[in-house]
Amino acid sequence: MTYEAAQLTFETLTPWLVWFIPMLGAILTPLIAKAGDKARNYFAVAVSLLSALLAASMLPAALGGNVIHHQVEWIPALKITAGVLADPIAVLMANIVAWISFLIMVYSIGYMKDETSLTRYWFFMNFFIGNMQLIVLSDNFLQLFFGWEGVGLCSYGLIGFWNRDEEKHWVGTPGHTVWGVPQAYSPTHAGMKAFITTRIGDISFLIGLLILYSVAGTFDFIHLAENKQWASSLAAMGLLIPVGVLIFGGAIGKSAQFPLHEWLPDAMAGPTAVSALIHAATMVKAGVFLMARAGPIFYSAGSGLGVTGFFEAIAWIGAFTAFLAATQAMVAKEVKKVLAYSTVSQIGYMMLGMGVAGLVADFATGYVAGFFHLTSHAIFKAAMFMGAGALIHATETKYMNEMGGLRKSMRITYISMLLAAAGLAGVPLFSGFWSKDAILGATLSVNTPSAVPLTILASATVFITAFYSFRMIGMIFHGEPSHHLEKLEEHGHHIHEAPRVMWLPYAILAVATVAIGLTGPFFEGALHSIAGSSLEKVFELHVEEEGFKLNFVALGISIAGLGVGAFPAYRYYIARTADPSSLVSGGFLAALYRFLENRWYINALYYKVFVYPSVTIGRGLFKVFETGVIDRLSGAAASSSIAVSSVGNWIDVNIIDWFANGTAAAGTVMSRTARRIQSGVTEQYVFIFVIGIIIVILAVLALGSEMN
C-alpha cells in the first residue's frame, strides 16, 4: 500500500504535537520557573498530561486499524523528509509511554519535594518524554536517531542529577572492589557510564544504518518495506545479517542487553522517579521498539535471503541477558538494584519475543508476545520503582536488609508492591503470567535447533524471577524491623505511609497489573489485532487470523518455575523459618554468591580493558611519543626551518615583488617584528605594515577595474 503525503489536519498534526509539546514544555520550564516553584512544577506535569491526552486522542483511530502518516521536507538536497508514522502499534506504545510518564511526573511532585535545582529536573523529564515519543512516532531511522540520542542525553542529565556527587547519592557498596576496580559510583560517574555505554551501541547502530542508507538511499520505514531491492543487494555483499545485527547493537546499548548491560545497575544513582521513567516507560523500551520497527522491515525484505540469522542473534542475546541479569538480582542488596537487574532480565524476554518472531511460522506470534510483555512490564515495573522510592524516603536507606517488617506501617505500598511483584513473578491471573507465557509458547514453536536452549534459558529465568521477586517482598515487608529502623524510631522518626501524591500513581498501576491479568486472553487478542494491522499495512506482512491460544507446555513450565522459585523465597524471607546467610557461608554456594555479587566480573573486566587503558594510553602516548618524539623533532625542525624560511622569504619577496612592491616592505617589517616583538615598538611596525597592505590593495584596485 502506498502512502501519499497527507494534508496537515488536526489528525496529522496530533502525532507531531505528542512529541513536540513535551520538548517545548521543557524549553519553557526555565521561563515559567520565574513565576515561582509551584507554578513551574504544575506546569511541567500539565505538559506531560497534555501530551498524554493528545496521545489518547489517537487511540480510537488506531484501534480501528488506521495509519496516520505525514511528512515534511527536511534535507531537500538529499531528498530526506521528516515525518510521523502513527500506526496502531506506535499509537499503543505512545500511550503506554505518555500515561506512565504522566503518573511518574505526578509522583515526582511528592518525591522531589525537598530537592533544589528542580528546573533542571523538570526540563530533562519532559525532554525525555518528548524524545521517547519522537522515537515512537518517527517514520524514518534518521529522525528516530534524534530521539534515540535525546533520551540518552536526558538519562545522562537525570542519572547524574545530584551532580555534586555527595556520598549519600552514590550507588553500590562503598569499599567493595573487584580486582581493584571500585564497585561504588557517584551519580555523575553513573550518568557518564550510561551515556558512553549506550553510545557504543549507538555507534554500532549508526554503522548499520549508514551502510543501509548507502545501499538503499533512504531512511524511510515505508520505503524500506516497500522497495525490497536493498535487501538482495546487501545479501549479495554478504552484509544483510551484519547490518541487521549492527542496528540491533543500538538496541543492545539502549535496552541494556548483554554485552552492554553494565550501565543500567549503576544508573540507580539517579532519583528513583528517574529510574522509574527510564525503566518502565522510556529509554530501555526504546531498544525493544526499535526492534519492533526494524524486525518487520528485515523480515519482509529479507525473506528468502537467509535473514533468520539476524533473528537468531536477537533471540539469543535476549534469552541470555534474561538469565544473566536475573541471577544477579538474586543477590542484590539494594532494592533498586534488584529492580534494575530485573528490568535488564525482563527486557531480555521482550527481545527474545522479537527474535523468535522471525523464527516461527507466523511473525506476529513472537512480535505480539514481545509487545505484550513490554506493556505488562511497563506497568508493574513503574509501580515497583515508585514504591521503592517511597520506601527509600520513609526508611532513609536503600538496603533491603535495613528495612523489614514494613507491611503494617506502609500498607498501601505493601499491597501495591505485592501485586506488582506477582505480575513480575508471573503468578497466574496477573499480567506477567500471560505475557511471559506467550513468549515461552512462541519460543517453544521455534523451528530451528535453537528452540531447546532458548526455552531452557527462558524457563530457568522464570524460576529465578519468582525467587528474587518474593525475596524482595519478604526482606522489605516481612519479618521484624531491622536495627536501622529501630534506631530511626528511637530518634523519633516514625515510619509512615507515603503521601497520596506519591502512592496514588503506583496504586493505580498495581490495579492495572491486576486488571490486565484478569483480562489477559482478551488483552492479548486485542494486541494481536493492533499489531497485526500495523504489520499488514505498514510492513506488508501477512498475519494469520488468530486469537488467544494457551500453550500448555509453556503453562506447565511457568507454573512449575514459579513454584520452585517462590518456595525458597517464602521459606527464607517471608516466613523466615530458615536463615539464608547459612547457605552462603562456604563452599560452592559462597563462591557462586560472590560471582553473582561481582556481576559475573563483567563490570570489572570492562573497566580493566576499556576504561582505564584509554586514559593510560592517552597519557603514555602523550609522555613518550608526543613530548618525547614529536615535540623534540619539532625543535630540530624549527632550527632547520629557519634556514628554509630564509629561502622562503626570498621567494616571498621576489614573487610578491613581481607584482607589487609594497609587500616586500611588509615582509621585512614582519621579520623584524619577530625579533623586536618584546621591545615595545611593535605597534609602529605593525601599523606601517598595515598601511603597506592598504597601499597594495588600493594599487590593485586602481590598476584593475570592475569586470561585471
Partner: protein, 502 residues
C-alpha cells in the same frame, strides 16, 4: 555590486582608524570593530540570500582576474568565519581589557593608562586584518590571490599571539609562524607548479589535463602536505597545542575552529576541484592520515589537564574528521566535511569561550584538576559548554550530528561501492573512534562542572552579558543547524555532488 569587496576590505581599510581610536579612547575601538564586523557580515549575508552563486571580478593583470566568489563551497566557510569573528568581537571587549590589564599591571599608573589604550587599539587593528585575511582566502578565485590572503591571515595572528598570548609567547608565536609558514611554502610550490604548467591561475579556468601527467600526483601531494600543516594533521600538528593554548582566548576561539579549517576548504577547492584524478589516487592514503589524526588527537586530549590544551588537542582530532570526510571520495563525505567546519566552528568557539569565561571569572584558573562543581555557579556557561561538547561528539540535536553522519555516510558509500575490506575497516574504525571523543568530552564536563566545588571557587559568578550573549548565540546556532541542516546542505551538497558520486 561591491558587496564582497566591502566585506573583505572594509575591515582592512578601517583597521588603522580603529588603532587610532583605540589609542585615543580605549574600549570604543572594540564597539567600533563590532560595528565594522556586523556591517561586513551583512554585506556577505545579502549576497548569499538569493541562493545562487555570486561573483565579483576585477581585472588584475598580469596575474589574471582578482575575483571574489560566493558559491556553495565558500559560503558555509565565509559565513561561519564572519559569524564567529563578529561574535568574538563582543566577547573580546571584556576579555581583552582583562588580559591587557594583567599585562600592564607592573607599569606606573599613567604609563599603564596609555599602554592599555594603545595595546587595545593594536589588538583590534590586528583582529580586523585577521578576519579579512580569512574571508579573502575562502572567497579568492585566483591561486595567487588565494595565497596572499592565506599569508595575510597568518601574520596578524602571529603578532596577536606574540603580543597578547600567555606563557612563553615569544617562542610559541615564532614556532607557530615557522610551522605554518613552511606549510604555506610547500603549498606555494604546488600552486606555482599548477599555475606555471597550466598557464592559468584562475581556479575556474585551470584544467588538470593540461598538466604533465608525471607531476600531477606530486603537485597533489605538495598541496595536501602544505595544507595538512594548517590542518594540524598527525605528525604536523605539534605547533597547534602550543599556539592555541597560549593565544589570547578570543584568538584561540578563531584560530582553532575557523582558521585551521580553512586548510580543509583549500584542500577541497584545489585538490578535488582542480586535481580530481590525482585526488582519487591519493584519497585512501589521506583518509588513513585523517583517521590517525582523529584517534591520536582524541587520545592526547585524554592526557591534558590544561583546559585550553585539551581543547587544542580536541581540535587536532576534529581536523581528523574533516580530513577523513574530504578524503572519502564521495559527495556525502566531502559535504559532511564542509558541514563539519561549520559544526566545529560553532562548537569549538563555544568551548574556547567557555574556557575564557572560566579564566575571566575564576582568577585565571586553567588547570582542570583545580576545577569542579562550577555547573551551579555558571549555569548559562555550562549549558552552552554542554551544547558545544555535544556538537563535537556528534550528538543530535546539534549540528555535529548532521555533519558527522554525512562524513561517515560518505565513507561507507565508498566502501559499499568499492567493496574492498580496507574501506570498511577505516569507516568502521572512524565511527568507533567517536566513542573516544564522547569519552574525553564527558569526562571533561564532569571534571569542570560536576562534583564538589573547591573552596577557592565559592565566589565565582556568571560573567557579564558581553560574554554570555555571544556564547548563547553560538549555542543557538549550533542547535538550529542541527535541527534544520538544510541551511548548510542546500549550499554544499548540490555543488559537490556535481563532481563526485555518492
Amino acid at each position: 555590486m561591491t558587496n564582497l569587496l566591502q566585506a573583505v576590505f572594509l575591515p582592512i581599510v578601517l583597521s588603522p582608524l580603529i588603532y587610532y581610536i583605540g589609542r585615543r579612547s580605549g574600549k570604543a575601538a572594540g564597539w567600533l570593530s563590532f560595528a565594522v564586523m556586523v556591517y561586513s557580515t551583512l554585506m556577505l549575508l545579502i549576497v548569499t540570500l538569493p541562493g545562487a552563486t555570486y561573483i565579483e571580478q576585477y581585472s588584475w593583470n598580469p596575474i589574471g582576474i582578482f575575483g571574489l566568489k560566493a558559491d556553495g563551497l565558500s559560503i558555509p566557510f565565509a559565513l561561519t568565519i564572519y559569524l564567529l569573528c563578529t561574535a568574538l568581537t563582543i566577547y573580546s571587549i571584556p576579555y581583552m581589557s582583562h588580559r591587557i590589564e594583567e599585562q600592564t599591571e607592573h607599569l606606573s599608573s599613567e604609563a599603564r593608562e596609555q599602554t592599555f589604550k594603545s595595546k587595545l587599539g593594536l589588538y583590534y587593528m590586528l583582529y580586523l586584518l585577521y578576519a579579512s585575511g580569512m574571508l579573502g582566502t575562502v572567497l579568492a578565485t585566483n591561486l595567487i590571490q588565494f595565497y596572499i590572503f592565506f599569508e595575510l591571515m597568518l601574520i596578524p595572528s602571529f603578532i596577536l599571539i606574540a603580543e597578547f598570548g600567555y606563557g612563553d609567547r615569544g617562542r610559541i608565536s615564532f614556532m607557530y609562524f615557522l610551522w605554518t609558514h613552511v606549510g604555506a611554502l610547500i603549498l606555494l610550490a604546488g600552486i606555482l607548479t599548477i599555475g606555471l604548467t597550466t598557464g592559468q591561475f584562475n581556479i575556474e579556468a585551470i584544467r588538470e589535463s593540461s598538466m604533465p601527467e608525471g607531476i600531477r600526483v606530486w603537485v597533489a601531494a605538495a598541496v595536501t602536505i602544505g595544507l595538512a600543516v594548517k590542518l594540524a594533521a598527525f605528525g604536523l600538528h605539534i605547533w597547534l597545542p602550543y599556539a592555541h593554548a597560549e593565544a589570547p582566548t578570543p584568538i584561540s576561539a578563531l584560530l582553532s575552529p575557523a582558521m585551521i579549517g580553512i586548510g580543509g576548504y583549500a584542500l577541497i577547492r584545489i585538490l578535488i576541484f582542480i586535481l580530481p584524478s590525482s585526488y582519487h589516487t591519493i584519497a585512501l592514503a589521506v583518509a588513513i592520515w585523517g583517521l590517525i589524526t582523529m584517534i591520536y588527537g582524541g587520545l592526547m586530549a585524554f592526557a591534558q589537564d590544561d583546559i585550553k590544551r585539551l581543547l587544542a588537542y580536541s581540535s587536532v582530532s576534529q581536523m581528523g574528521y574533516i580530513i577523513f570526510g574530504i578524503a572519502s571520495a564521495a559527495s556525502m563525505g566531502v559535504s559532511g566535511a564542509v558541514f563539519h567546519f561549520v559544526t566545529h566552528g560553532t562548537g569549538k568557539a563555544i568551548l574556547f569561550m567557555t574556557a575564557g569565561t572560566i579564566i575571566l571569572q575564576a582568577h585565571g584558573i586553567r588547570s582542570i584538576s583545580k576545577m569542579g562543581g562550577l555547573g551551579s555557579k555558571l549555569p548559562l556557561t555550562t549549558t552552552a559548554a554542554m551544547i558545544g561538547f555535544l556538537a563535537i561528539m556528534g550528538v543530535p540535536p546539534t549540528n555535529g550530528f548532521q555533519s558527522e553522519w554525512m562524513i561517515f555516510s560518505g565513507s561507507l558509500a565508498t566502501a559499499t561501492k568499492i567493496g574492498a575490506p580496507i574501506y570498511y575497516a577505516i569507516a568502521v574504525t572512524a565511527l568507533a573512534s567517536t566513542a573516544l571523543t564522547a569519552g574525553y568530552a564527558l569526562w571533561t564536563v564532569k571534571r569542570i562542572f560536576f562534583g564538589s566545588l573547591p573552596e577557592e571557587l565559592k565566589d565565582v559568578k556568571e560573567a557579564s552579558p558581553t560574554v554570555t550573549i555571544p556564547l548563547l548565540f553560538l549555542a543557538t546556532v549550533t542547535l538550529i543547524l542541527g535541527i534544520l541542516p538544510s541551511y548548510v546542505t542546500d549550499w554544499i551538497i548540490p555543488l559537490v555532488s556535481s563532481i563526485l558520486p555518492g
